[in-house]
Symmetry: D2
Subunit: 257 residues, 4 copies
């Protein structure tokens, strides 16, 4: 399990959201509250959009709280749409190539959750990744494989359909293999203009997912970024939402578990 946050609004220094709130993502890296796993110290990552089409990315294997580079970068990089993620590994190694967010062209993706008993389906899932996307595989996480499958399944044309198709493929495979552990998938996607959040689990325990619209900007996260939690809305489990500064559109995922 991991923790993450996303921001869209007028360009701000990243530190304003990464470090300053009293339950900021950096604070959550050491003491998350809405999860059994409280320490998220197996690497972290940033992805941010600016004038270029492809987002900037920064991944590091240290705990987010102890990387002096992150402090300076977050003080000096401004963005109007950025993702940040702190990782708690569910088995794969602590390596930059396994740190979220993952990028493909103008897209960013980050994930909290896991494919239950992943070792039993890793081989098959990797085989589903088409050749032209497979060369983009950097690491060995289930998260990156799911992202590349979503790209293959038409993420750029119809994000809701791509997520539905991909999760259904994986659920079917897990059922065929007799896997008992759930598929948990709470994630964030962006193409640089719009943001989509997904909250899903094949059991009753979808990882938490909150958002708050501030008028001028919107923040989405695994948990509220302030200890009070005031004004943070929970995304409904089994839903995919397109969320922006002034809009919130929700689609129910049509999955057959």
């Amino acid at each position: 399990m991991c923790r993450w946050m996303a921001y869209q609004g007028s360009p701000v220094y990243l530190e304003q959201w990464l470090f300053e709130p009293d339950h900021s993502l950096i604070h959550q890296s050491l003491s998350a509250r809405k999860s059994e796993v409280t320490v998220n110290a197996d690497g972290f990552g940033l992805g941010w959009y600016d004038e270029r089409e492809e987002p900037g990315q920064y991944h590091e294997i240290l705990p987010a709280w102890s990387d002096c580079n992150l402090k300076s970068l977050a003080r000096h990089i401004k963005s109007g749409l950025f993702f940040a993620h702190v990782r708690a590994s569910t088995g794969t190694s602590t390596a930059r190539s396994n740190c979220h967010p993952f990028g493909y062209k103008n897209w960013l993706f980050m994930h909290n959750g896991q494919i239950g008993q992943y070792e039993q389906v890793r081989w098959q899932i990797d085989r589903w990744i088409p050749e032209h996307l497979y060369n983009h595989r950097r690491g060995s996480t289930d998260s990156e494989a799911i992202f590349l499958l979503m790209v293959a399944n038409g993420l750029d044309r119809d994000p809701v359909a791509a997520v539905n198709t991909t999760l259904q493929q994986i659920l079917n495979l897990m059922r065929d293999k007799g896997i008992q552990e759930p598929l948990r998938f709470t994630s964030m996607l962006s193409n640089g203009r719009d943001m989509w959040a997904v909250r899903f689990s094949s059991d009753e325990h979808a990882p938490s997912l909150y958002y708050k619209q501030f008028g001028e900007h919107v923040v989405v996260g695994s948990e509220p970024l302030d200890l009070s939690g005031h004004g943070w809305q929970l995304v409904e489990s089994g839903h995919m939402v397109k969320v922006g500064i002034d809009h919130y559109h929700t689609d129910e995922l049509t999955l057959d578990g």
Copy 2:
């Protein structure tokens, strides 16, 4: 604050003590119990004696639980006297040069605690380190400075006197500077034959320090290495003990706080 352990006895693979006990040091790196700080993930280190006079050393900035090298090294390195330490920084950076244990010739030292308001005395304490030892300073921790002062104060001739003299010097300086925060110093020393443990604080809250003699070997640690805690003895605060497989000699520190 940090967590550490030391072993003396017949040579064993390090993993037997680092990984296997149900509250092993690796377990403590994520969830210490006898400390307000439960996460010790700002680097770690090993020091071990073998046929050579100077000990082997290994320091890494990753959390101990996520370093794949540590797993293999601990499975393949055997020692009859070794130290292991997981660090929770009290301010200085996460760098190999700040990771314990520190070595000088045949000596090893590791520490849990801190000099209160260290930034106010760092300059003076570094100035006390004699030139021939100063070139051995690798990092910027208070712990390493204390160790070099102990060496300067005759650690090799009379360890108890060296610890007393050094702590008294620092206490005097802290008093002169009007420092209110305590000096906390729970530490372990070895010359490769004998081991000494020190438990001290200038206030009432000396960090915990336990040992257990198993007949064939002895283990000393910040906390018991098993969750039951059965048979682990607490070292008395304000004392320095020489502890081995079959001996335990305690000296009261004669400090004027």
Copy 3:
């Protein structure tokens, strides 16, 4: 391209071969002589056998010359059969999971060379790795994929046949894809008892491969470990040799390029 060495003989401290010769592997990491690429600073690795069946392993992304841990480990680890490798990446990232040697059960493998235009065959080669071995894939190098294919092709039963079969598979695929760049493959294998060295290229430029028998031990390497080169023998291109302290058996590879 990379540089590597292997040692078999009476147990010695690794530093005796890694650091002390005047053209040691550490020296080669900065200034190789028998290669156009003179700097091999994209990580390094060790694998060594001792009393346990599975070898110890240590991988790091720093240049070998600047890792203080390596200095201490090489002074304190003794082995009678060990591999060491310094990496010059041919495209994949600098990550521990891409550092040689690669291990599987009691086997070690390290490689100097590359599959030409690897990005064009990576997808297919990964698909050939059987499911029970695929979960051992740690990184994204061509080298690791070749190793797992050799295991799949019966390395444990008949090493010469496994190497022949695997290289032929890859050559066929490269021909089918119309790849012009060569397959270069100079490598070392061991099961903990015996060592095999392979020197091959599909063009005329097989990477160099030398060995020297010292009576009590044997050393194999990408280049001689002393600047004089005295007594070092070149392995013939297109051959796989089983080499030990007192034996040297060569097989010609029967490949149809």
Copy 4:
């Protein structure tokens, strides 16, 4: 010895100078031309000015050519005044805290050279750093100590006098200690508005230092950033120059070696 470059002009993406020229700093990290040391792979660093008063900083221990983060940061960070440095250690460890540039408030400093037989003067030089600056000492290099001494000697009021005073102090100490090796000091300073370059050695072999004014911007570096070298001017040894887009003022250092 190290390599470095500085840029002042209209804001550009850092990659335009770090990666794109045919003898860019990244290229020099692997194959410097104007130095006996051709490999500068013991860490690197960036410092850049933007809207904030204090510069951004990024330091890493990997070779500059193999850090995937650097590639993305350099594609996404824009600056009108930045420093970049690739390090070849002269003895101190490969650690982020030893990577240039060093910062103090609005100042940046980077250095190529060394204090001869530094171990003989390290103790004394550190003692000269005043207490209020000593707490800013992050690492153990001679370069950082020189920088803090320059700050102590009035860098902010009169940079030329501060450099003169500091170098003279060190030269006097080296003479007192009977040190034979030279003091080599080719460096760059900026307060965020102006840039100063210094080229000095106590012997005849001052490290190279070039600049080129392009009309809209100026670049200073250890060597020309293009292989042709066309239009690059050599700074005279023993001089300190204030250099900008359209000005170049030189002062002779008045040192008594």
